[in-house]
Symmetry: C2
Subunit: 153 residues, 2 copies
């Protein structure tokens, strides 16, 4: 594929989104589902790395913890943009129907996580394991409480 065709193919894929509500910037439900799973997976990997340090399963590495927290903070707002109307099916998903039927509550959980992520980053930047531990708990709790309510096992 020539570069021009590549760029046009990209543009065509994105242009399809214009037919959808502004909140749903995805060509199809499948893309939205893949996008939220992808962003959450990357967040989860970096969160696990901090978790290992916090729980003494891996040596504390202040620089690595900061890099992990930076990725988490950068991605914290992204997954929720991909739970728009009509994205409850189209690909395998563990999202429960309550994501849409109790959307205000779901949003509250998302906002909670978005509020915790910069605090985790600030703690990681401080370069102190005790501060990291203190910030890790509330962040983990914000993940867990949302998963408990809105993600199927």
């Amino acid at each position: 594929m020539k570069l021009q065709s590549f760029a046009l193919a990209l543009a065509a894929a994105a242009a399809t989104t214009l037919a959808l509500p502004a909140a749903a910037q995805f060509a199809k439900a499948e893309d939205a589902i893949k996008y939220r799973q992808s962003s959450l997976f990357v967040i989860g990997q970096h969160f696990s790395r901090i978790g290992a340090m916090v729980n003494g399963k891996a040596p504390y590495d202040a620089k690595a913890a900061q890099a992990d927290a930076e990725v988490i903070a950068s991605l914290a707002a992204l997954p929720w943009t991909a739970f728009g109307t009509g994205t409850d099916k189209g690909a395998p998903t563990k999202a429960k129907p309550e994501v849409w039927s109790e959307h205000a509550k779901f949003d509250e959980h998302a906002k909670k996580f978005e509020a915790e992520a910069p605090k985790l980053l600030a703690a990681a930047k401080a370069g102190n394991l005790d501060q990291l531990k203190a910030a890790f708990g509330p962040t983990a709790n914000s993940c867990k409480s949302c998963h408990d309510s809105f993600r199927a096992r």
Copy 2:
């Protein structure tokens, strides 16, 4: 699952990585494959959105373009951390054997993209469509040339 068990499960998953080389921060090859696919998918989605603006398929929205470019720049260095030795199999992957047999060339492509991403961000921040167009081409080219050599169709 209680929060403590949740945190311990996270830690246990991450602790497994200690047995692997430092570059491979993943519990298993499958996680590395999923991680690189996830980070590249999120990058691709945001890049497509900029592509649509650049190619006149979507209205130019300076603020949205900047947000897209910020996500791309934040993630630009991540995928390559997940192509470590032994991650050529373990889950479906389009990565060609050349990723590992010609690793220096692959790294060069990755570095090229990492160098383009901040330029795309700077152009997006300038709030000028012509500048965005000028930065988009070289970035798209860095994606394409790596895909051509290292990704199966």
